[in-house]
Structure formats: C-alpha cells, structure tokens
Amino acid sequence: MLKKTFTALTLGAALFAGQAMAADYVIDKQGQHAFVNFKISHLGFSWIYGTFKDFEGTFSFDAANPEASKVNVTLKTASVDTNHAERDKHLRSGDFLNVDKHPTATFTSTSVKSTGEGTADITGNLTLNGVTKPVVIAAKFLGEGKDPWGGYRAGFEGTTTIKMKDFGIKMDLGPQSENVELILTVEGVRQ
C-alpha cells in the first residue's frame, strides 16, 4: 500500500516536474511593447526602415516544450510608416501593398523547431498582398516573468527575409532591393 502510494506519487511528481504549463499570451498592443519593422535596401546605398503601426496577435508558449508553441499575428497594411508621406502613399498603392484591396496581412505558425538554447525556427504561413506562402522566422526567446503591476509577460524577437515578387508585389526597385527583411519583437501578457 505504502509502496503503491509512493510509486504513484513519484510518477506524478516526475510527470509534473519539468512542466511549466503552456500558457496563452496576448501581444501587448495596449502598451505597444511589440514592433513589426522591416528593412529594405535603397539602391544598395542605404537602408530604408519602416514599421507597421497597427497589428495584434496572440501566442502560446511553454519554455519546457517550445516546439508546441504557436503564434498568430494580423496587421493592417495601411498602417505602414517609413517617415515619408509621399513614399508611404506609394507603398499603400497598387504598386506595392495595395491596401484598399488587401487591408490585412497575417502570419500563422504551423510548426516550431528548436535550434538551440532559447532559439527556434518558426515555420508558418504568411499572407501578404493576398498571397499565402510559407516562411520561417528565426526566433529568439528573450525572457519571461512577473511584471511590477500584477501581470506575467514573455517576449521574443525574430527575423525573416521575403522576396517581394513571391507575394505578387511587382514594383521593380532594382536588383539590390528584391528582398525585404522583417524584424519583429513581441511581448505578450499571459492570460
């Protein structure tokens, strides 16, 4: 009897030992502790940095089981901002993002593969300009823990590079500018 109880308890302890529970997080849009930025070459002479100001998303993450993580982000393409009104107007037009026809872009993860201590490749479907293609985000877990105001947060950064033509963006900016690097950082508040 004692042996059975002992076995049961040990088994139970072993099962729960390494298991911080998988948690759902909402990306902190309210405090804007998240950024979806991009970088593209200008003629090979400099970088244009831009951002999408309006986006929201969720992720579920368990540090003990990172490959079960999921992430989902939807952004408003019209919120693009490269600090230049004429350029932003052009970016929203049919030459680039065609925002009136495609007001949102989304990323939905399909699988996560651990690549080291705190890093992972997140594979998922990116829908941009009405075209859906798989991309891989090279992600790094930055940390998690309690915040000073009664909440619990976790944060990541990640990058991926896409070819504009793959998503039906036809504007020819020259050979130096075929690819855009997406640079993301998100902090989520645990629900």
């Binding site: 019209a78 600090n83 230049h84 009104a85 004429e86 932003d88 107007k89 929203r92 504007m171 020819d172 900016l173 020259g174």
Partner: protein, 184 residues
C-alpha cells in the same frame, strides 16, 4: 492697352493671368498623368514631381493674386446680348472653375506636407506644412486631387468650347475681351 479691366475689355493683368493659368493647368494635368506612369529608374522619376509641385505652388500664388485683383479691378460688365440664364450659367461656371482650382491645388499641397515636410519651390524657397497628421492624409488628399483634377480639366474644356461658341456662333465679344480686343 491698360493694366486694369474696363467696362468693355479685360486689362493686361487679367489677360496674362488668365492665359498663364490656362497654360499651367493644361501642362500640370498632362505632367501629372504622365509622371504617375514613370518607373523607378526613369531620370524623370524625381524631377517630374518636383516640377509639378513647384509650378502648382506658383499657380496657387497666382490664383490668390487673381482673387485680390478681381476685387481691385472687377471684370467687364456682362454683354448686353446675354440673357439672365446665360449670365447665371457663366457665373456658375466661372465659380466652379475657381473652386476646382483651389480644391486641386490645396489637396495636392496636403499630400506632400502630410508628414510635416515643406515643399520646395524650384529650390528657391520652401512652403511649410500647415495641416498634418490626419489619418492617411496623403491617400485621401491624393484621391481628392486626382478626381478634382479630372473634373477641372473637363470643366475647362467646356469653358473653352463655350468661348468658341460665343465667338463663332453668337459672334459676340466674349472671347475677344479676353484678348483685350472687344469690338463694341
């Protein structure tokens, strides 16, 4: 010929401004349409919009002067042969042209200054931004600018046809006055 308008003729000031504006409007419309189709590697990709904005802002200054001049030197009296309907139609048409001009020019100005940047006029001086930060200001102003420009050019075309009608069909002084050559 005199600078001021008379009861029968437009003076040189009005004549120069009228035909100058006509030329600028036609030129800017054509330039505007053409420059939209330029690709990134065209040598005109930056030059054409710079010209368009510079001429547009000079045009705005001229139009403001024209409004002042109209008050300082009112236009000639309506032709005696023109019925009340003709007078009403021509007043409405001219008012619409003025309105169309200001809507086009101001909306254009609001595109480039949406982010607070000034517009450079031929590199001589800069016109600062006044209204900024309206959500998607450059896009909304851009749509207004495009449709108002088409409305204006169509109206201007009708205006030209009306002048030709008065000249060749009615055979009155309407068009001649705008050259300072009224016969009666």
């Amino acid at each position: 010929m005199q600078w001021r308008n008379s009861s029968r003729n437009y003076g040189l000031t009005s004549i120069f401004m009228h035909w100058g504006v006509a030329l600028a409007v036609i030129g800017l419309f054509a330039l505007g349409l053409w420059m939209r189709g330029l690709n990134y590697y065209s040598p005109w990709y930056r030059t054409a919009p710079d010209l368009h904005k510079s001429i547009g802002l000079i045009l705005l200054a001229v139009m403001l002067l024209r409004v002042v001049w109209r008050w300082l030197s009112p236009p000639p009296a309506a032709l005696p042969g023109h019925s009340p309907l003709v007078r009403l139609a021509s007043t409405a048409g001219h008012l619409a042209l003025y309105a169309g001009l200001f809507v086009v020019m101001l909306s254009g100005y609001l595109i480039s200054t949406a982010d607070g940047r000034p517009i450079s006029v031929f590199g001589w001086f800069e016109v600062p931004a006044l209204i900024t930060g309206i959500p998607r200001q450059e896009d909304v102003a851009g749509d207004v600018h495009f449709y108002a420009a088409w409305a204006l050019i169509i109206l201007a075309g009708l205006h030209a046809l009306a002048a030709l009608k008065h000249h060749f069909i009615d055979r009155d002084d309407t068009l001649r006055r705008m050259f300072g050559r009224a016969k009666s």
